[in-house]
Amino acid sequence: MGIGRVWVFGELAEGKPTTTTLELIEGAKSLGASSVEVVLHGPEVDGALGVLGGTGVSKVYNVGDLGDALVGAPIAAAIAGQIESGNSPDSILFGATYDGRDVAARLSAKISKGVITNCIGLEAQGDTIVASHALFGGSQIAKSKFTGAGPWLFVVRAKTFSAPESLGEASVESQSISVPDLGATGAAMVINRHVEERSGPKLDEAPIVVSGGRGLGQSEHYAMIEELAKLLNGAPGASRAIVDAGWVPYAYQVGQTGKTVKPTVYIACGISGATQHMVGMKGSKNIIAINKDKDAPIFTICDLGIVGDVHKVLPALIDALKNR
């Protein structure tokens, strides 16, 4: 019977499927699903159908425009409605995004099925899906599978699968699915959206990421990280220690609770290399670390390590790059 039908909880940004959505579609295809179908919401679904068709999915379920509602409850209810009426997928993949986890968690409780979270690999073995997920902040990898009947729910971390480089267009069938009455659960509404400005390439797509940690000493010194990132056409990132300290916004955070990045080069400056940080960057093709403590764990995973003071190495490096 194989892996059967796999649904993907998809998200759009500026009218296009997000990278995470495209990754999940690739993942579903790699499992050998008999069909890959995508659940989408928002005012721009119709405009995105061509690109989705181009990825080879066979159907799009359109939950419609949810306005200002937080989407977890309505989308979970719409999917549960389909399952109850007999249109049930065998598995559903969710990205480990703000909304992806909400939808997965709500749906899980609604249909009384467990969720396997933090997946960093999914593999078909006969009729089952084997999920790999990191334990203890990434030091160990466990393999899990569901023992009961589906639908099986998986929350998958970013960059687990690769999105296609280029996208074609093709037509795809789309079906509206309705949101049943939510009672109190649907009452959370966005009343204002705040966008924090950020220039340069996106952290999770940049070919070079330069990250700073507590070793920078104080918030003003983060300017060195921004300058270096800019000189290299890269994106600045951060450890959680300095996000928690309020030096930079949360959107900069790399790691277990932040972004997963896999750039060509990751440069860690004054970052110790806690497992929760490394889990978000150790897939980088090359890693450079600058840290004054030669025993810092970051040195166990780097290709080039400079044991030194960031206040000496970074200004010299910035000067050298400027003078080229």
């Binding site: 899990s144 929350v155 659960t185 509404m189 924090e196 609770t257 290709d303 190495v313 010299a316 790059l321």
Partner: protein
Amino acid sequence: MNVAVCVKQIPDPAAPGSLDPTTKNLVRGGKLILDDSDAYGVEIALQLAESSGGGEVTLVSMAPNGETSGLRTALAMGASKAVLVSDGKLAGSDALGTARVLAEAIKRVSPDLVLAATESTDGYTGTTPVQVAELLGMPSVTFAKKIEVDGNSIKVERQTEAGYDEVSCPLPAVVTVTAGVVEPRYPSFKGIMAAKSKPVDQLDVAGLGLSDSQVGSTGAGQEVFEVQDAPQRDVGEIVEDDGEGYAKVVSFLENLKLI
């Protein structure tokens, strides 16, 4: 305003964790501590109870062997009481099983607001609190960095990909708070002494009215069947900076044709 805070008691994260080789359940030996991630929820709950002119903060926890040491820390911070669910049958519970237990325990407290962390330090599924919300029929707001009470509803600043959203949500509701958003208070000596006599209501699975098949490894419907060390990366060149360390970085980037 009465606030229930879900607090997880976990093995010290500084000590390396391990799984039982046969059951693949987390080995829980030694004393458990209050999960750091939950200290923020406790702090916010105490601030909200104070600013709304009183009200109680009740802790809700599921832990093996009637473990209370993590709860005592949060009681010492100022929480009034705790509900602790402990039962051998809970071993191997997944997030949904845990949520069933927490939801039943929370029903006994009837709070205006339920707080939890966005994710725990050891399990970090990040799904338990929203599962609790669904089971309780409540709305939920995840990734909160600020909560304000406004009569019968709350205003929450919720982190987003682009920045943050202001979300309005009627009570009762479940809110998950992100780490680092407030400075959790240190328990005072007086607080520590007072915590020793604060009530901890202990319940088991039957006492909650749940059936054995809804919790523990039988309720989980998923199994871990293999655990391996994560693949190691090869270590490259490590050099002591003698003033020329920057040049090593430059040539490394040159070799990759990035500059």
